[in-house]
């Protein structure tokens, strides 16, 4: 068992990392001054992972759009109980979410931390899929998808991603479509669970008020009882940095009152998962905040001139195989808004907000919001 503790002096935090013999990793942050404990069980498997090679020279297995999200829903559902109820009975509240590259299962509690950790590990690692429960879930998620389809912001976002990443899994909604999920079967769910819910592909993160040694003992005992074959998966990642396929302009008409404008910028090169990559990611976020942050001249001028309203925002996303920036907001004249964004990007060197003092203020504010003390 690998067990290391690192003190991050600048952050004022201590992180203990443990790797169990079966490959499961733990990230532990003990906070005795808090009452609560949060635990997140994460698999490195999300909506973009629609293909897996089960043996070295085998043909890839391709699964329908929405499989990772479907699997997330289905894991709560067992033969004679629902995992949500177990957490409830032990004083915890549970949740789960699927992103493009990860699936997360979490609980928060003020009591019975160890009991709830066992519930979390067991329900995620012990799947129960039948034809009947899969069919029932197709109905439930189908309704969820129709709700998303009625949300203009969601539709616009999905359509902007499709303009940037045509043919890539990112162009599909994380939940899939009513049609794609109709092709999901118990066998597909079992295959993907075996491939990606292997302990080597999972991390348990626990933050809060508990005894770290006790946690490690409880998780080790829990995992020792689970015999796991070697990880069968060879992930197939669709790296997409090809800017030549981007659809530069599109218009959609929807049942809305006020128009909306979107600008997407597709990353043309990978941002690595190491420290150099983190530097680049944070530098990019700071750049965007310098130019477009609501404490700057650009935002204030646009707001006063009616180019944007308070729905204006931007995000920078970095994932396995892709990165992109999105600007969005409601606008009386979306053409004026998106032209203003493009002009601000082209002319950033002449922007008076690009200076050392403002950068220092933004860095300070960003630290205060990410690491509150």
């Amino acid at each position: 068992m690998d067990d290391t503790t690192k003190r991050y002096a600048d952050a004022g935090e201590t992180l203990r990392r443990v790797t169990l013999p079966n490959g499961l990793r733990l990230q532990i942050v003990v906070k005795p001054e808090y009452h609560k404990t949060y635990a997140v069980f994460t698999t490195n498997f999300g909506a973009v992972d629609d293909q897996v090679r089960l043996q070295a020279d085998a043909q890839p297995v391709v699964v329908p759009a929405g499989t990772a999200h479907f699997l997330e829903h289905k894991l709560f559902d067992k033969a004679d109980y629902d995992a949500f109820d177990l957490f409830g009975a032990s004083g915890a509240s549970a949740n789960a979410f699927t992103s493009a590259t990860n699936t997360n299962y979490l609980f928060s509690t003020t009591r019975n931390v160890m009991k709830n950790v066992e519930i979390l590990l067991d329900f995620v690692q012990d799947p129960y899929f039948t034809d009947a429960t899969v069919a029932k879930e197709q109905g439930i998620i189908g309704q969820e998808i129709q709700m998303y389809d009625d949300d203009p912001n969601w539709q616009a976002y999905t359509s902007l991603l499709a303009d940037m990443y045509p043919g890539h899994p990112l162009s599909q909604d994380i939940a899939g479509t009513v049609d794609s999920i109709s092709h999901i079967t118990p066998a597909i769910l079992r295959t993907m669970h075996q491939a990606f819910y292997h302990p080597q592909n999972m991390v348990l993160t626990v933050v809060g008020n508990f005894d770290a040694d006790e946690l490690i003992r409880v998780v080790s005992a829990n995992q020792a009882g689970k015999v796991t074959a070697p990880a069968p998966q060879a992930r197939i990642t669709h790296d997409d940095y090809d800017v030549s396929v981007v659809q530069p302009y599109s218009v959609k008409r929807l049942d809305i009152v006020r128009p909306k404008g979107y600008v997407g910028i597709k990353g043309s090169a990978p941002i690595t998962a190491d420290r150099a990559g983190l530097r680049q990611e944070l530098a990019t976020r700071l750049f965007l905040e310098l130019i477009f942050g609501d404490s700057g001249h650009t935002y204030t001028d646009w707001y006063d001139q009616g180019v944007i309203d308070d729905t204006f925002g931007y995000e920078f996303n970095v994932g396995r195989g892709y990165n992109f920036t999105v600007f969005s907001g409601d606008a009386t004249d979306p053409n004026r808004m998106t032209n203003a964004i493009m002009a601000a990007l082209r002319n950033y060197r002449a922007n008076p907000d690009v200076n050392v003092d403002r950068l220092a203020r933004i860095i300070k504010a960003s630290l205060a919001s990410t690491l509150p003390r």
């Binding site: 952050a11 906070k31 991390v203 626990v206 800017v243 979107y262 990559g277 530097r279 944070l282 979306p334």
Partner: protein, 62 residues
């Protein structure tokens, strides 16, 4: 967001990389305006841009 929840989710979101949120202060302290402008330069291009306008339906488009 509650800070414990924030820490748990941020640690989880970077669980498969080589860095985590506790590296932020250190990395941010190293970054200069030149680094930030270099990142901006990499971002600002005319290719790879997708613009989308969402407009109300007209009688003709319904």
């Amino acid at each position: 967001m509650n800070s414990l929840e924030n820490i748990a989710n941020q640690l989880a979101s970077r669980a498969f990389g080589d860095t985590n949120m506790f590296d932020y202060p250190d990395v941010l302290a190293e970054l200069t305006l030149a680094d930030v402008l270099a990142a901006g330069q990499a971002l600002v291009r005319d290719d790879g841009v997708a613009i989308l306008h969402l407009l109300p339906e007209t009688e003709a488009s319904k």
